[in-house]
Symmetry: C2
């Protein structure tokens, strides 16, 4: 039996396009004598479709699209993710489901049991669950069908039973898992450990296929694999590759080592795919990036060139009275190295216009963040004007450290359609930069070595107002990704004042992040839709003093 696992890249909501692609793919697999083609979770509607699922037409169209695939199943068996609808108490219930098509009919429908409702996932918002598992037969083999989160029973005390255990109790030969599992750092290994534990525990083989591609903030890293019942890896399609993994079960194979990328290479691939799919799926071709001469915009530009080609990236330098000569030449050198179009639009005269008009209303207050923000907003407006006039998408260049503490200007450097590295801490941006320079020095060494600066006043550096990035990033990671509080972070060995200041900055910048461009999620906890902190919230851990007052 020849089985194909297809890391499919749908466009969310584009049922016609996705179904046509599925059809092409299936026809191609038929011509390659594949017996059983397996597509990821929600292949027809894309993932995550979000509130499109509230549209009755959308649900009806998914059923229609599925029915268009049925005739193909006379020549090949098909398993694909879709949205299944049933009625109960006069109302529609939806299931995140897999349809098994064979011999020109829908032979089985499996529904997802564990509905992730955390981080970027909202499946309880849309789907119901049946607490039942589905097995199918093909040839003389029996397969248990599971969908993505069904694997992860152990991780969440809210889950009431383990679908894999229940499937394994049904005498299956193989567990199939069709997934739409977003990329995050080192997740491939976590998945692999989980998947290889299944043969060991239940003496069954495993087939896994993941969705591929970027959809808004989420990047699916694709990948497929085939484990025999001893847990040996027999076949793998590495991350980020779109061609199907075709495996002939009758041909003996030698055991494989898991194909992995280095952490930086993996991250670079994820960001590149995220840019390419977001820009193209938004139907843009070119992007424009403000180049400051700093490391963040340099890394963003290099990634954009990798994603879209050098002819589709425009760099803009927007110097002010505070821009150092080095910054201007670093920006230009980067553009030359990348061979991208490069514009220089000074902001000085516009800045003077703003200051002339506004100063009478500043009540003689001294130069402060106001004037710094005006510069950033002029630059944002220039990039948006180029975007409006030429149809280029603006990519923003802020990193996670800046966005965390609000070291960025709303409506200024935060302007743009996609925040490429907003989930990458500053220290990691340096690491990626070095990796990107590995084969050829693209990013000017000066951008890597000089002290980071926003250059919004004379001799400014980031460290005037922020702790050093190695300290800052460690505190931020503890606070944002590990939910540690003040005292716990101090106990990690940091100065109490510094920790308090960082936490305050993070909490007080929530309003900025709420209006930020969507950013590519590559970590366990990115800003954006997966992290839902109220703007108005005054949480500070209670201390003894507070508690005593309350007990009085």
């Amino acid at each position: 039996m020849r089985i194909a696992l297809v890391p499919f890249n749908p466009v969310v909501g584009d049922i016609y396009h996705n179904t046509a692609m599925l059809k092409n793919q299936i026809e191609s697999l038929i011509s390659q004598s594949v017996d059983f083609a397996i597509f990821p979770e929600l292949a027809i509607g894309g993932y995550p479709p979000k509130d499109l699922l509230d549209k009755p037409y959308f649900i009806a169209d998914i059923q229609e699209a599925l029915s268009c695939l049925i005739p193909l199943s006379r020549n090949i068996s098909i398993l694909t993710g879709f949205v299944h609808a049933e009625h109960s108490r006069g109302k529609r219930k939806l299931y995140n489901a897999a349809a098994f098509l064979r011999n020109g009919t829908i032979e089985a429908i499996a529904t997802k049991n564990l509905l992730p409702t955390y981080d970027v996932f909202d499946e309880h918002r849309y789907f119901d669950h049946k607490d039942a598992v589905t097995t199918i037969s093909l040839g003389n083999l029996s397969f248990g069908i599971s969908i993505c989160e069904d694997l992860w029973f152990e991780t969440n005390p809210k889950y009431r039973f383990d679908p894999i255990e229940k499937l394994a109790a049904n005498n299956i030969d193989y567990l199939i898992n069709i997934a739409a599992s977003p990329y995050e750092e080192s997740k491939l290994l976590t998945r692999f450990q989980l998947l290889t534990s299944i043969p060991k525990k239940y003496n069954i083989g495993v087939m896994y296929v993941n969705q591929l591609g970027g959809n808004d903030s989420i990047v699916f890293d694709g990948g497929a694999l085939f484990l025999d019942k001893t847990g040996t890896l027999c076949a793998q399609k590495p991350q980020f590759q779109s061609s199907p993994l075709i495996y002939d079960m009758n041909t003996p194979s030698s055991p494989l080592e898991l194909n992995t990328l280095s952490p930086d290479d993996e991250l670079i691939q994820a960001l590149t795919l995220g840019i390419r799919d977001y820009v193209h799926k938004c139907k843009f071709q070119k992007v424009v990036i403000g180049l400051s001469g700093g490391i963040d915009s340099a890394v963003t530009a290099v990634l954009a060139v990798k994603a879209l080609g050098k002819e589709n990236v425009i760099g803009v330098s927007m110097p002010s009275r505070f821009s150092s000569e080095g910054s201007k030449t670093d920006a230009q050198l980067l553009a030359e190295n990348l061979e991208i179009e490069f514009l220089t639009i000074p902001i000085e005269s516009i800045l003077e216009g703003f200051l002339d008009s506004l100063t009478p209303y500043f009540s003689d207050k001294p130069w402060d963040i106001t004037e710094e923000n005006i510069q950033a907003r002029i630059r944002g407006s220039i990039l948006m004007a180029l975007s409006n006039k030429h149809g280029w998408m603006v990519l923003t260049t802020g990193n996670k450290s800046e966005l965390a503490v609000g070291y960025c200007t709303l409506y200024g450097d935060m302007c743009g359609g996609l925040a490429v590295i907003s989930d990458v801490f500053k220290t990691r941006v340096y690491s990626i930069a070095r990796t990107l320079n590995r084969e050829r020095t693209v990013i000017p060494p000066n951008s890597l070595s000089k002290p980071p600066s926003a250059e919004l006043r004379h001799n400014q550096t980031d460290q005037d107002s922020l702790p050093h990035y190695d300290i800052l990033d460690t505190i931020l990671k503890a606070y944002i990704e590990e939910y540690k509080e003040r005292d716990e972070i101090v106990q990690m060995g940091f100065d109490k004042e510094t920790v308090l200041k960082v936490i305050q900055l993070v909490d007080r910048s929530e309003y900025k992040r709420k209006q930020a461009a969507p950013g590519l999620k590559v970590s366990r906890k990115a800003f954006g839709e997966g992290r839902r902190i109220p703007i108005v919230q005054n949480y500070l851990p209670l201390d003894h003093c507070n508690t005593s007052l309350l007990r009085k």
Copy 2:
């Protein structure tokens, strides 16, 4: 027995402040010889606390805060919403719960059974449920405890049992419902109908109390009521009033009519409370508003004055070469009528600066939306500069119709901390304006009568590019709030081209709304966190032509 129902207004996350307020309130009720004080859902932590619930310290502090209230229960029985934590499989499980405190101890903990996970609600993200109900006894009466959504079994086929039915089967005398139910138009009547159906069905009385106040986008309208077992309204605290409803069960009362506000008055109160609480809970005192002379900014300014006082509202006129004389005088007249501070900052010279700098890069393309957006962005930057320099919050003035079709400039007129009327359609804005002018003409009649215009080019009116607002708003309501699709809306009697254009505009403007300021939710379906549509999504209903192609 004297019972108090308290429409409590907590600050999300501010456990110390909320607990201190609860304590004060309870002590005051003790002095008024109240026997039983009932507070709303999640009174201690505020609602919605969102991902604060992922912080272990936050959960521990809520338990600590509850324990601080226990001693008070020696003098009064207390029922209050809080977050209850239990452990299962080595992990923490959370419950949206109510604690019944009596005689210096926690006598019962009731947990919410139906967890709303739709629109702005994400309770499955955080909470588990026990499928069990809790009753308590006090004097010779028995009370069933329910929490908000527990009332709404019939509305959702995903809900597996009806907690009210189960409670009523326990021989209770009264059902208590503690709620955090957001305001939306005519919801008071819906709630009232639902509540009065309970005595009729089960022959039990009902006590209901709702949270009060604004938290980010959500406005809780408060309100409390007491129904006897015949369904007669015995006591009511109207919406938007903060004092407790104290009811003596031993004193016979005459039946009341439900106290309601007119739709416009209700909406005005909700928006006013939303502004006041957002601004104050963000620790701002003053707001600044761009006054265009149009109806949207006028209504926003009047509401801001109602919410914050005239001394805390600054109006700014920012005329350009396209501003009509009428607009400038209308803005000034409004400011005079409101007696607010009024600044005039022309944008012409700044606009010239931008055009001089940018024109060389515009490839001789004609004047278009680019130049219009530059004007809006200059105005946004001016308001933000005033905000930065003086610590005033910018209120944005866009209405729901504009935001729906993207008739607004990202980083321009969309700049601001709170979008006051972003959930109010343009036609309704006119209606509110007339209501606000009822007692005294505050909004210049000219702002009401002239054709709406963005005044970003000569002789522009909104209707150059949009259908008339009465048509537009009806289509938008059908598409956004009722999930109707193209053909269904055409069948309502609209031109097909118009419907298609409006739908396209809505879908293509998603990227703008993702970066919009938080807006006050006052309708069934507001933009923002309760409406989750992907940016990249190409959903269009399948038509015959598409389906035939797929079936080939």
